[in-house]
């Protein structure tokens, strides 16, 4: 009994000491860290969808940075897959998608039929889709970049997944592909294997380059991975208008995509500085790659990466801003 009371007393003293010791330092909320009162006109809130790839994140980082620092907007980022993000236009939870790759089905559903979304024009980025080989392979066998020579090497491209044909690895199913039709129509002795994710493609390229393996895969630009490894594109028969861009008859390369911005119809109708910025936001593949490189390779935070690029490119940024300011 006595012992335990002594212990209690010691504990109470300890508590008191702790409380006293703790009572130093800043208190929560005292340092006036509320919303930093801006001087410009009110801009409101933008609900910005962040689709899961680094190039998109580069777009979003720069847009957010400019909107926050130059226009005093409140930007709420939401990490979402494309389908979910588009559905957000209908439910009013998403205002803006900054980098859209085609998606004719979603365009029809939300822009044409439901009219909850509108096209805000191109981002200036050119989406290039095609078949790529690792750099060592293009160096060792320069003729491999011509599709007519692919069959000559088909045996070397064999894997446990493609049986006695060469393997063409496809990646994330989010992107458009006609590879099955292409392989058939071009008479290639290859089999399309579904890698299932961008991760699978990039890791396979790294491994193939490190171990000098034959490897052919579906890939796309702009993409941060090009900052790490300069993949070489295989030349398919060039794209011509009318060679059946999609569908079973296709026998030519993919067309270049103009990546575009999609926004909520209601948000655009309401107007405001954030909408104007979204409309004017345009840059090149090199611009995006520079920011993507900062994020993916140099491991900078998206904000720091955006600041670095904005500070280095005042002219481009000023062109997006209202002329008067």
């Amino acid at each position: 009994m006595m012992r335990s009371w002594r212990r209690v007393r010691i504990a109470l003293v300890a508590v008191a000491a702790l409380a006293l010791a703790g009572c130093g330092g800043a208190t929560v909320g005292s340092s006036g860290s509320g919303t930093s009162g801006g001087s410009g006109p009110a801009c409101g809130t933008v609900n910005l969808a962040i689709n899961p790839w680094v190039g998109y994140e580069a777009d979003a980082a720069v847009y957010s940075y400019v909107a926050k620092t130059k226009l005093n907007c409140n930007v709420v980022s939401k990490d979402l897959k494309e389908q979910v993000a588009w559905a957000g236009f209908g439910t009013g939870e998403v205002d803006l998608i900054l980098e859209n790759w085609g998606h004719p089905d979603l365009t029809k559903q939300y822009i044409t039929d439901q009219k909850t979304a509108v096209d805000l024009g191109p981002t200036g980025n050119k989406g290039i889709i095609g078949w790529y080989v690792p750099p060592w392979l293009a160096q060792a066998h320069p003729d491999i970049t011509d599709w007519t020579n692919l069959n000559k090497y088909a045996d070397q491209f064999r894997t446990s997944e493609s049986g006695d044909q060469g393997q063409l690895l496809d990646g994330d199913p989010s992107y458009v592909t006609n590879d099955n039709a292409l392989v058939t129509n071009l008479g290639l002795n290859f089999k399309v294997v579904q890698g299932g994710s961008e991760t699978a493609l990039i890791q396979s390229f790294r491994q193939a380059e490190a171990q000098k393996q034959f490897f052919l895969a579906y890939f796309y630009e702009p993409q941060w991975f090009f900052e790490e490894m300069k993949l070489v594109k295989v030349n398919l028969p060039p794209f011509k208008e009318g060679c059946a861009a999609e569908g079973p008859g296709v026998a030519c390369d993919y067309p270049a995509y103009d990546l575009n911005k999609i926004a909520s119809a209601k948000w655009v109708a309401a107007g405001g500085p954030a909408v104007e910025l979204a409309k004017k936001f345009q840059w090149t593949n090199d611009d995006q790659n520079a920011v993507a490189r900062s994020i993916a390779v140099d491991k900078m935070s998206p904000e720091d990466a955006a600041k670095k690029w904005v500070d280095a490119n005042p002219d481009k940024v000023n062109a997006w801003l209202p002329a008067t300011s």
């Binding site: 504990a11 929560v28 998606h103 446990s160 991760t199 699978a200």
Partner: protein, 657 residues
């Protein structure tokens, strides 16, 4: 008795295994002339009318969501209630609340409260584990993310228990209810989350409600099942005794059934928490805040180190929650009343601890240093990140040639043959063979469930993909069982092996698959085998744990008798311990199968193709939504079919004994 029954059981086993071998031989022989016809193959971009119809479903929801009364009066209130619950918990521990820039409880408060509760409901050991575990996460530099994850997990678990425990009690009291809800529970556990994640945001919008509901769909079944099991295993004589003493039904429930099954129910809660934590990364795809986002972002740049660091924080959270609930279950089980003196001492200590906790809470509410976890330079996060990077780099450069050869060998010899048999056989031949096997192993009931599932599989239009997935599942489960038996026996026989291995198994179960997919891709390329390896990592721990438990329950007397009769260790294992743990082995196989199936979609992300890829594609492209949904259904059907056949087989084996 035992000596009489023995030969009959043996005879039954021999005749069954002869039958199985016969069916398989006949299948292979018939395959030779018949393969390649009636395979019901469907190209990856092709759709059936069913798939197109399912696409329309998605659009219909989309069109009606703002006008339909169902949305206004059913869905919206649910969404608002869950949103409110999550925001309250977030305001408490993770997000700015009450007009302040910080949550109500800062890190010091959370550590103190969690430590105190673990000690009060568990014991001193788990209390310390909680304190050090949480501090470890803080030092990893992930306090904020971990609290976001914890808030969402707690909300999902709370709602799960609110639904699950009453439902479980009801199912425990009535066989009919149990039979009615079991298919629903199977469905919730095996339907891949990717299938319903996008539609969920149409119903419950993008926000905490969708993430919580996605999590609870997966997390409710364990607590329902285990609670029902707990209620049911209260001895009938006890219930009769109380009823004969004049108790009402309500009294029997609250005074006898619930207290007596408390320990089992806590284990159910434990499993529900684990299931909820395993959804962290997937929920991040619809903007659920927390550690899952860190993993997904890191994966975009293949940053294994950062993903591993975040994954490790999830593992630490899981181990804390697991050990605390297990300790709480053990305390619930203690029937011995403590002496008055002990009781008093404990109360005094608890009171002191309580005061200390309140002081910490106050400090963390008021002062910045106790509110935001200090970001120190000695943070261990970067060290863990670098360590994980170094290990992966080393493995990728030095092991990949060996592992690639291994992959090619297994694929060619085992996987390709099983897949050829299943995929290239005409559908009617496969159906006949599967039903014959079901009849031999499980009897009439297994045949009926098998026939229904196979018919529905054909209706999904994805027969060929389903067979490819089934082939990979069979190979993966076989390997899982090899691990299960080898490691499980080792663990069951040695307490030290158990102590060393168990945390590793826990980690393998909770570590998000996304973390180890990158190194696996480097080691085994984008292939079906990589998917199998990922499934083994996830499923083997369960099988191992069940086998180890089975071995341990073999009575010590039996083991001693065998040893004194001169059995060698090998004889002891193969002739005594394994045969006596047979029911554990069948349970391990059953659970191994189900866990392997739950990794089918992850497999689709690394080159497995088939149903997993169909689901992934359906999640990414609107035009393939219907096909993805059908593929999800096909996975559920495969799961139910394998489960029913293996359970019927287990029952039969038990009855024959």
């Amino acid at each position: 008795m035992a000596t009489l029954a023995q030969p009959r059981a043996r005879q039954w086993r021999i005749s069954t295994s002869r039958g199985v071998v016969g069916v398989l031989l006949a299948w292979v022989v018939l395959w030779i002339p018949l393969h390649g016809i009636n395979t019901l193959a469907l190209a990856s971009s092709e759709l059936t009318p069913l798939h197109t119809w399912l696409n329309g479903l998605n659009e219909a929801v989309n069109a009606n969501r703002s006008t339909s009364p169902f949305f206004l009066y059913v869905i919206d209130p649910i969404r608002l209630a869950i949103d409110a619950l999550v925001r309250v918990i977030q305001g408490l521990i993770s997000q700015p609340a009450l007009g302040r820039p910080a949550p109500v409880l800062g890190w010091l408060g959370v550590v103190a409260v969690a430590g105190f509760l673990s000690w009060a409901f568990g014991n001193v050991k788990v209390g310390l584990l909680t304190v050090f575990g949480l501090l470890f996460i803080g030092l990893q530099g992930l306090w904020q993310e971990a609290m976001d994850t914890l808030a969402l997990t707690l909300a999902a678990v709370l709602v799960s228990l609110l639904i699950g425990i009453p439902l479980g009690v009801w199912a425990g009291l009535s066989r009919r209810v149990e039979r009615a809800i079991t298919p629903g529970l199977d469905f919730m556990q095996t339907m891949p989350t990717f299938v319903y994640l996008a539609p969920l945001t149409l119903f419950f919008l993008i926000g905490p409600a969708s993430a919580t509901i996605a999590t609870l769909i997966y997390a409710v079944p364990p607590v329902v099942r285990i609670t029902a099991y707990g209620i049911r295993s209260v001895p009938a004589t006890t219930i009769e005794a109380t009823e004969s003493l004049g108790s009402t039904r309500a009294q029997t429930l609250t005074k006898v059934l619930l207290p007596m099954s408390r320990r089992t129910i806590v284990l159910g809660i434990n499993q529900t928490i684990m299931a909820a934590l395993s959804m962290v990364t997937i929920a991040a795809l619809i903007d659920a805040p927390g550690l899952g986002k860190t993993v997904i972002k890191a994966l975009q740049t293949l940053d294994v180190g950062t993903a591993f660091n975040a994954g490790l924080a999830i593992v630490v959270l899981a181990i804390i929650l697991d050990r605390v609930t297990t300790a709480a279950a053990a305390r619930a089980d203690v029937t011995r009343a403590p002496s008055p003196r002990e009781h008093r001492r404990r109360q005094v200590l608890l009171a002191v601890g309580g005061v200390l906790t309140v002081v910490c809470m106050y400090l963390s509410y008021t002062y910045v240093w106790a509110s935001t976890f200090p970001s120190t330079e000695i943070g261990i996060g970067s060290a863990i990140t670098r360590f994980a990077d170094t290990v992966t780099d080393w493995a990728q450069t030095n092991l990949s040639l060996i592992t690639a050869g291994f992959k090619d060998g297994i694929t060619r010899v085992v996987l390709d043959s099983v897949e050829a048999l299943l995929v290239q056989s005409p559908w009617w031949l496969t159906t006949a063979a599967v039903l014959a096997l079901a009849a031999l192993l499980g009897g009439l009931r297994a045949v009926i469930s098998g026939a229904i599932c196979l018919a529905l599989l054909i209706a999904t239009g994805l027969w060929s993909d389903a067979m490819a997935t089934l082939a990979a599942t069979i190979v993966a489960t076989a390997i899982v069982m090899v691990f299960g038996i080898v490691v499980g026996v080792w663990m069951g026989r040695s307490a030290r092996a158990d102590r060393v291995t168990r945390p590793v198994l826990d980690a393998a179960q909770v570590m998000p698959a996304f973390v180890y997919l990158v190194p696996f891709l480097a080691l085994f390329a984008a292939s079906r085998f990589t998917a199998i390896v990922a499934a083994i990592v996830f499923a083997a721990p369960v099988a191992i744990k069940i086998v180890a438990d089975g071995i341990r329950t073999v009575p010590a007397v039996t083991v001693e008798a065998a040893t004194s009769a001169g059995s060698s260790t090998w004889q002891l294992m193969t002739k005594v311990q394994l045969p006596m743990a047979r029911s554990a082995l069948t349970l391990a196989t059953n659970q191994g199968l189900i866990y392997v199936l739950s990794m089918v979609v992850v497999g689709g992300l690394v080159g497995a193709g088939a149903l997993g890829f169909d689901v992934v594609a359906g999640f990414s492209q609107g035009t393939l939504f219907g096909k993805g949904l059908a593929a999800g259904l096909a996975i559920v059907l495969l799961g139910i079919m394998l489960d029913r056949i293996s359970q019927a087989a287990a029952r039969r084996a038990r009855d024959a004994r």
